[in-house]
């Protein structure tokens, strides 16, 4: 049994990388391995918005990550700097920046790049999906 972390930088709306990351995550969990953390960076953070609303007959990446993380008890972490720039905001950051509204999905947390470094050092393998 190995511990994985994933770094996901792929745009969820215009590339395949998030689909690949989810398939990889499901497969490794099915094999009995564990996930410590999925860290979202660059355009990857766009998946953390609860307002993402694909057509109803299509895969909802945000909800799929959320369900997988809750079922298998791992963390979904979006990098704060790149998330704010991309309009992925929680209530705390909205208040601090005088923005009306927030859109983070409750299964995701926003944190610093240190969480990526920690995931690298505390996992057996880090795999990137960009």
């Amino acid at each position: 049994m190995a511990t994985f972390s994933l770094l996901v930088t792929a745009n969820p709306h215009s590339s395949q990388g998030q689909f690949s990351a989810i398939q990889f995550a499901k497969t490794l969990l099915h094999q009995g391995h564990v996930i410590k953390r999925v860290f979202f960076y660059a355009d990857g953070v766009l998946v953390a918005s609860r307002l993402n609303c694909p057509p109803s007959d299509e895969y909802n990446l945000t909800k799929t990550w959320a369900k997988l993380a809750i079922t298998h008890d791992f963390e979904l972490t979006a990098c704060v700097t790149v998330a704010m720039k991309r309009g992925i905001i929680n209530a705390t950051e909205a208040d601090r920046n005088a923005l009306t509204g927030e859109n983070i999905d409750p299964a995701f947390e926003i944190s610093g790049l240190g969480q990526l470094t920690e995931a690298m050092l505390e996992s057996d393998r880090l795999v990137t999906f960009g």
Binding site: S14, Q16, D57
Partner: protein, 119 residues
């Protein structure tokens, strides 16, 4: 006189949303009675392969929409023979929706169209 629009597909499907989002433009413009050409060059020729199954990875299969182009009045659907050959693809592996063409004819279509879109 109605305006003409050439839409150029130059990327393989599913790694990006280019094919799907260009198709939506093609169908909308056809509804406005524009004269549409759909042109497949480079890795865009892979858009036309038969037996695509992106659903096994939970992605939406947009390839059936290519079969509907004619229903929408889009009759100029050209695929580059040079780009097929360079990719060792025979025409028999493509859906029967396009006409085998060449760079010269495709360039002529681009040159004569009022608008040209890529994505």
């Amino acid at each position: 006189m109605s305006k003409s629009l050439a839409i150029i597909f130059n990327k393989a499907p599913y790694g990006n949303q280019s094919g799907r989002e260009l198709l939506d433009i093609a169908l909308m413009a056809a509804a406005f009675d524009m004269e549409i050409s759909a042109l497949f060059i480079g890795d865009g020729v892979y858009q036309l392969l038969t037996n695509q199954q992106p659903d096994i990875l939970h992605m939406k299969n947009h390839s059936s929409t290519y079969k509907a182009l004619e229903l929408y009045g889009i009759e100029t659907v050209l695929v580059s023979s040079e780009d097929l050959e360079q990719r060792r693809l025979s025409e028999s592996r493509l859906m029967p929706v396009s006409s085998l063409s060449n760079h010269k004819q495709i360039n002529k279509t681009i040159a004569e169209s009022d608008f040209v879109f890529m994505l």
